[in-house]
Amino acid sequence: MKTKLATMALGALMAAGPAVADLVIPSLSYRTGPYAAGGIPFADGYADYFTLLNERDGGIGGVPVNLIECETGYNTEKGVECYESTKGEGALIYQPLSTGITYQLIPKVTADDIPLHTMGYGRTSARNGKVFSHVFNYPANYWDGASGAVNYLLEENGGDLNGKKIALVYHNSAYGKEPIRTLEELSKKHGFELTTLPVDHPGQEQKSQWLQIRREKPDFVLMWGWGVMNQVAIQEAANIRYPMENFIGVWWSGAQHDVLPAGDKANGYKAVTFHAVGDDFPVFDDIKTHVVDAGKAAGAGDQVGTVLYNRGLYSAMLAAEAIKDAQEANGTGDVTPGMVRDAMENLNITEERMAALGMPNFGPTFQVTCENHGGPGLIGVSQWDAGTQTWNLISDFKPTDGEVIGALVEEDSSAYAAENNVEPRCN
């Protein structure tokens, strides 16, 4: 009888215990709506990595992670609702996977002292840590992407783009407009002609844009698309027989679900990327044993190893490493958002560190500093092989045009600082 009571008491204690010291990480995901095709694999990868940490290591530094998923539908109003409802739970870091929601959250997180990590999206000039204290966009941003794509084209064309025509097909939103300014600067520098073709939300209607491409015959087409827009664009390009190897998407337009609907015709389509592709990494073995085979995979569990799943995994890994650093720096398992922010500002991702996590060469090595929240901006190019249905890296991760981007970042961030009376930090 006594033992029974004791076990019951212990059980009650254990049931009540974890709620006190969990690491709360919100996942502002979207599994519904026109952007769900991209939102689902990212959210699955993000959730699976934290499940893996909980199952294999008992959380981060022995403290379990409590992932709160909140559906935004890529809608800013719902994003605000999600932010407010998870903020109160003690959220440590936000990664909303939406440029629109990022713009909403930049001032809010700064006021609430919570870090915001927008990996490869969001406001590009947030890379300037002197102005944006709580926003991080390492390891690469849109302007790196634009410059990386142009650099790749330069390389392909013997260093000369003079007189070439490049068209940009973009999602007519803050997200799609981001690269225009950089591309305009680059067009002045390298002498190519830039045409911009906006596609309105949600992006199913692109007949006129592709008609224009058919008429003007640009040498290269760049795409800043997301969700259903990508598949439609690739299909339309195939319909007008545009040569796929001259069609380059940003990293949000280069996943399996974007190219599969067009079948063999999508063969040769390219996309820039800032992390590795494929599932040939030791971490995937652990995910298989501890998460998928244990029946704990997020969603349908069929996305493991896809491009966006990897990106979700990568972004979760960077968050987890920052939290680990914060725990070590402060000697406590129970960190606050402010501590995580400080750790993110000093985050150092080395090759050994990634190898120890079972992700060797998964992304670039980088060191975040107070001034530079954007990382090195190394951009590679991947290409779709419709025969084997795989993305293959065809160009290694290379630096981008830091001179052009640096000047634009300085200009845009100082405009923000002036508009919002932000005192520059890091002095």
Partner: protein
């Protein structure tokens, strides 16, 4: 039981024609005001303000505005999103051009600018009616969104085309931006809503409103008895657009803080506000409140119940939300085509006679 009207005598016409002639209604109205102004500001937190109350207050203003046009004057409009965008961008340009001026003035001026734009797009209503007018206002919706996307002057040449609300105050209390306290933003919107509702209620009870309703019920007959259709229709467009513009300005400056025109003020917004008006009840101020509350609060409640209480996956809850809200809309329209306001009206008549219905 609730309504005890015995002894509630009116001795003057003023008493008899007041907004709430029944004593019980009047007291309830005072209680609601007292709670809204006197209690909620002291207990409000960020979540309640930003997730529930601000959207409710702001959509209620928009719904009142649209109800004046559609419900009282009978001019169908699908341009609400576009007019909200006018309010938002006008407010943004004013906020950045005159940083020292009080937010109150900016919001009211933004409403005024929207009223002018609304009158401009209301001109076709003198020639066309019904569905054709709906199409004309739809054109306004697409044109305005296109305009704000296309002309960089409207978004101060920012790289992304987004507009961001800088920090502005009223009498030293911060109203916009991330540092604004929840109670201040709530009070700011509440004051505007109260003002709009009182103005709308009194306009619709007076000559102007009667002219609108005459036009709505039969425009030729109205013209014969001396209602000037030009004036009546254009005043309806002006007043309606003013309210919609105010709500757009608040939506951008106080609630969201950063806005992208295609996403925040697209055609879905026009339909959302129109649904609020239809579900709430055409030609009823209370209906505008009820409709706004229904469409703002119900999804949040369903989400809280589904995800936080029952622990279901978020995507299933999001899909169920669409199914349930859609189902309820159909159900309401079949069972009570005149909306929630009519439901309330019927219930109130029953309550007034209870327990001795004749």
């Amino acid at each position: 039981m609730f309504y005890r009207e015995a002894g509630d005598f009116k001795t003057s016409y003023v008493d008899d024609s007041q907004t709430f002639p029944i004593k019980f209604d009047r007291y309830r109205y005072y209680v609601v005001l007292a709670v809204a102004f006197g209690i909620i500001p002291f207990i409000i937190n960020d979540y309640w303000a930003n997730a529930l109350l601000l959207p409710f207050l702001i959509y209620a203003i928009a719904a009142i505005g649209l109800n004046i046009l559609v419900g009282y004057c009978g001019q169908v409009s699908l341009g609400t999103g576009g007019f909200m965008a006018v309010g938002a961008y006008a407010c943004y340009k004013l906020m950045t051009a005159f940083p020292d001026v009080s937010m109150f003035i900016h919001v009211i001026l933004a409403g005024g600018i929207t009223a002018i734009v609304g009158v401009l797009f209301g001109l076709p209503s003198l020639r066309i009616k019904g569905f054709y007018l709906a199409v004309a206002t739809l054109a306004a919706q697409f044109f305005l969104v296109w305009l704000f996307n296309r002309v960089p002057w409207f978004y101060n040449y920012s790289a992304s085309g987004q507009i961001n609300a800088p920090e502005r105050d009223v009498f030293g209390i911060i109203i916009t931006g991330p540092n604004a306290p929840a109670w201040a933003t709530y009070m700011f919107c509440l004051i505007f809503l109260t003002f709009c509702a009182v103005v709308a209620r009194n306009l619709t009870r007076g000559t102007t409103g009667r002219k609108w309703m005459a036009i709505r019920d039969m425009d030729i007959a109205a013209e014969i008895i001396g209602v000037n259709p030009l004036k009546a229709k254009l005043t309806a467009f002006a007043v309606s657009s003013f309210f919609v513009g105010v709500s757009g300005a608040l939506f951008f400056a106080v609630y969201l803080g950063a806005v992208e025109v295609g996403e925040a003020f697209g055609i879905q917004k026009s339909f959302l506000v129109l649904f609020m008006v239809i579900i709430g009840g055409l030609g009823s101020i209370f209906g505008s409140f009820a409709g706004a509350a229904f469409l703002v609060l119900l999804p949040v409640v369903l989400k809280v119940v589904g995800v936080d209480v029952l622990g279901w996956p978020t995507d299933i809850v999001a899909h169920l939300q669409l199914v349930i809200v859609g189902g309820l809309i159909i159900l309401f329209l079949i069972l009570e085509p005149h909306g929630l306001a009519q439901l309330w009206r019927v219930a109130k008549e029953k309550l007034r006679l209870w327990p001795f219905p004749h």
